[in-house]
Symmetry: C2
Subunit: 216 residues, 2 copies
């Protein structure tokens, strides 16, 4: 048994499927954003707030990844946005093959913006390229300011970090300044947006930047 | 390449090492507790509060698992408790072999209580038996009441669930009642302790129960 060979093989297979996805997105003029975070950081809430504000401008679809349930896909459908739930069972991340399989069935004609909400996990999703145009990370400030140092891989890979739940800062004792410093230490190019999906603070800044990325 | 065979092989090898660890703990009369949670749920804070209250009663040691840094081991050492940091790199969980390797070097003579703080991940650590006597889960209530349904594996495997950060309930809008109901739906035998490592609420109940388990 060669575990390292197997890991290499899995990653090579993933890259192949990711390239296929990338070609598909390019061909159909779909901008694909991969949303990653630890469990409960607020990916679905961020999607809801974002979709409400831009659904008249972009034709949007969402692929949801979860171990179990269709709770997240149901929340997106409730906004009148088509969504497809991938139930991964015990698999702790989405991979490019899973997305590839969905692209065969999920009707994406005319869609301009596809959000892929990954499984809630601050480690593994960052290792799997999905063929996306943008990697976005949601981080709940309540998780603590030192986390970029302890979980560097995802912070390093992402294009943007949304520091969510800033409404809880006064009660949690977390320093936003220290957190931002720690993010930039791992990834000096990361675009950082402090936001609150509850109060709406910072959401417009994030959306403004997202639109720029889509229109690039 | 046979990915399913490889998974079976990894799990079989893990069980072998877990049995070795279990024998070691029994022989040396060490009670071992495996602490699991998503990132930033408060495992280390819980350990600090627990250690402060029982370090005169039990001789304690801690094994820490993190992708990077010795931040957690340093916090434990600051309490005068021996700790050993496992740095996993990109590996998203502790496995029995990693613990086995530590047991060769880490001086545990006379230790009665060993805490193993797993990597912050709500998915994979639950799959890897470490040979421990007790599995304990820390869950930050701020992550949301529906999470037991979406991440059932760890909730199903654990002996106890500590619902931490209850001091943030008034500001987060999460229903403790709904969360408890969802935990018990996945695991009717789970012992549930609402706690706050910040205010100290509930910590004595958890410690009382922990002592009962150690003395069984």
């Amino acid at each position: 048994m060669h575990i390292i060979d197997m890991h290499t093989h899995i990653m090579q297979e993933n890259e192949k499927a990711a390239n296929w996805n990338k070609d598909f997105f390019n061909k159909h003029k779909i901008f694909a954003a991969n949303l990653m975070s630890a469990p409960g950081a607020g990916k679905t809430s961020l999607l809801e707030e974002t979709i409400k504000k831009i659904k008249n401008e972009f034709k949007i679809a969402v692929i949801e990844g979860d171990l179990q349930t269709t709770i997240d896909a149901d929340r997106i459908n409730a906004l009148g946005i088509p969504s497809h739930q991938i139930v991964t069972g015990t698999v702790c991340h989405l991979d490019a093959r899973m997305i590839h399989n969905v692209l065969h069935d999920f009707k994406l004609e005319g869609i301009g913006l596809l959000f892929i909400e990954n499984v809630g996990n601050l480690v593994c999703p960052a290792e799997f390229n999905l063929g996306e145009d943008l990697k976005v990370m949601v981080f709940s400030v309540v998780e603590g300011a030192e986390k970029p140092k302890k979980y560097p891989v995802m912070f390093h890979e992402t294009d943007a970090v949304l520091l969510n739940k800033i409404d809880l800062i006064p009660y949690s004792g977390v320093s936003l300044k220290e957190l931002e410093k720690n993010v930039l230490e791992i990834n000096p190019l990361a675009k950082i947006f402090p936001v609150s999906c509850k109060t709406g603070e910072g959401i417009d800044d994030w959306i403004g930047w997202l639109k720029q990325q889509i229109r690039k």
